[in-house]
Amino acid sequence: MDSKVAAVVAAAAALMLLRVDFWWWNEVKPPVLFEWLSAPMLYQLGILLCGWALAVYAAGHLWKDDA
């Protein structure tokens, strides 16, 4: 497997695991942004942004039009 592909697979697996923020689970956290969004909510937004960056990277740098 190409090293870039391996890195993307590893990053995807890591994101799937990190998505489960067990350290905050079952806790009621007060809002920290706009009196509305709590830290776990912002963390989940961060996971999505990292995943988005990964997908964009894969499409831009791993894409080969031949297979």
């Binding site: 009196e35 509305w36 989940q44 996971i47 894409w63 297979a67």
Partner: protein, 498 residues
């Protein structure tokens, strides 16, 4: 009939009329060939491709199921789906969709079954895969009709019963789909995607403002239902496993997969990968908060009753003219999936099953006519099932999603693993489905899930089976042109035999 109900119905019927008109207009160029009816000549640019794929993906689950789930479980409803599916699915559009697009162009494939069975020239493998896909698409198909019926019943205060609402939507979809096939469906979906994206924003803003703003609404939830803020109603194992299931399942939905093959070039596909995550987040985020705020605004909904929370919020907090527009945008999300599912199932049946019947003539014109007839029959079957009054929408699709996700190892093995054998792919497609059904219905002891969702175990079984059976079975020859040699990069198209 009150003026309020009359206005809402006038807006909704005006919208449905517009949809039929767009479908009719876009179908002028549709020719009576299988390639044109089912794939629209594979000519779509990035905007239509994105709207068509996203519209096929966003369904009643989003506009009815997510608010319903957030009503009972809180904000976790959006990361439950989006923080895995929102990026993993676009990543798989690259991994699976791009390769499938190339094969579709080169070898004229239109379905997942053809791409898998086609590697070994095995029509039986194609039919096995397609039978599994059809089995899981039917319950998912029902959700669109159920959601449409519920929405119209609630926003008209029961004036239009849900069975009538579902019937109206079914008829509208049948009209433009039989006329224009994929081209009509894709252009209608482009319009519908714009409508439901704008409608979601409008609904969110209107309801949030009526509740005193997001901060005030969230504060009330923290005071009255703090459990909705803690995610305590869901186990971490469920959260983890469902993320994987939904992320792997969506690229294999037939309505999504077939559309990935209709792009005119790889650049179109690449652009939708970039657009998908923010669009997915926007819709799910807003729907989940509306559902959670709905718990304090309209308390007391039990079980699957919470599927009505969005239309109830619209009824309670928006002026009735706006409610008509918003109800139309909910319809847009449902119809864009419904038509894509119907067309995809018609494609599968016409391409893979009907040619084996001796009384079907081998003529493209007849096959297109049969495809149109199948759209009508499939709609009638799905409608009949919706009248049975099944449980909550999320429960229905959770099962279907797991079935699709368990097919992913077979798909990846077929597309990328040259040593992989057709026996391994067949076993990896079928055995996990038996495990999934066994665990879901309790025929296999639930303790074997170890706290994860049954679909997660089924995916694990699929991976193990494809590895073991490939190791146990001899290599077999691939179809010419399925794999291209590295020399292709230099301009030569030398096929490789495994």
């Amino acid at each position: 009939m009150s003026l309020r109900v009359f206005t809402i119905l006038a807006i909704v019927f005006g919208y449905l009329g517009l949809i039929v008109a767009i479908g009719w207009w876009s179908s002028r160029r549709t020719r009576a060939t299988m390639e044109d009816y089912h794939m629209a000549g594979r000519e779509f640019g990035s905007l239509v491709l994105f709207a068509s794929v996203f519209g096929a993906n966003i369904s009643a689950v989003t506009f009815i199921g997510i608010p319903g789930m957030a009503y009972h479980r809180g904000w976790v409803a959006w990361p439950y789906f989006v923080t895995a599916w929102g990026w993993l699915t676009p990543l798989l559009f690259h991994v699976v969709g791009h390769r499938a697009w190339q094969l579709g162009r080169r070898l004229n494939y239109m379905t997942i079954g053809e791409i898998i069975g086609g590697r070994w020239g095995s029509p039986y493998l194609t039919m096995i895969i397609s039978a599994i896909i059809i089995t899981y698409t039917i319950p998912y198909l029902m959700t669109g009709l159920i959601g449409a019926g519920v929405t119209l019943e609630v926003v008209t205060d029961g004036f239009v019963p849900s069975w009538v609402g579902a019937l109206i939507v079914a008829l509208v979809v049948v009209i433009y789909l039989t006329k224009g096939g994929m081209r009509a469906s894709a252009w209608v979906n482009t319009f519908q995607t714009l409508v439901f994206l704008a409608g979601a924003v409008l609904m969110f803003v209107a309801v949030a403002m009526a509740l005193g703003g997001p901060a005030s609404a969230t504060r009330r939830v923290m005071e009255l239902h703090p459990e909705l803020m803690s995610r305590g109603g869901m186990s971490m194992k469920q959260f983890f496993s469902y993320g994987l299931i939904v992320g792997l399942a969506v690229p294999l939905f037939p309505q999504v997969f077939t559309r990935l093959l209709t792009g005119k070039d790889p650049a179109s596909l690449r652009k939708i990968i970039t657009l998908y995550p923010p669009a997915a987040l926007a819709v799910f985020f807003m729907m989940a908060y509306l559902g959670m705020w709905g718990r304090v605004a309209i308390p007391g909904l039990e079980g699957a009753q919470s599927d009505e929370i969005l239309p109830r919020l619209l009824t309670a907090y928006t002026p009735f003219w706006m409610m008509g527009i918003l109800a139309a945008s909910v319809f847009a999300a449902m119809m864009s999936t419904l038509d894509a599912q119907l067309l995809a199932m018609s494609t599968i049946l016409t391409r893979e099953f009907l040619p084996r019947l001796p009384f079907i003539p081998n003529s493209e014109r007849v096959q297109v006519r049969v495809s149109r007839g199948l759209v009508v029959v499939l709609t009638a079957v799905a409608y009949a099932f919706t009248l049975i009054n099944p449980p909550g929408i999320i429960s229905i699709v959770e099962f279907a999603f797991a079935g699709f996700a368990a097919l992913m190892p077979a798909v990846l093995g077929t597309l990328y693993w040259r040593r992989c054998t057709k026996q391994a792919v067949a076993a990896s497609a079928v055995l996990p489905q038996l495990v999934l059904v066994g665990l879901t219905f309790g025929w296999i002891d639930r303790s074997w899930t170890f706290g994860f969702l049954p679909g997660f175990i089924a995916i694990g079984v699929a991976v193990a089976v494809i590895l073991i059976v490939t190791w146990m079975t001899p290599e077999t020859e691939n179809t010419d042109g399925y794999f291209l040699s590295p020399a292709r990069a230099g301009g030569s198209e030398a096929p490789v035999h495994a």
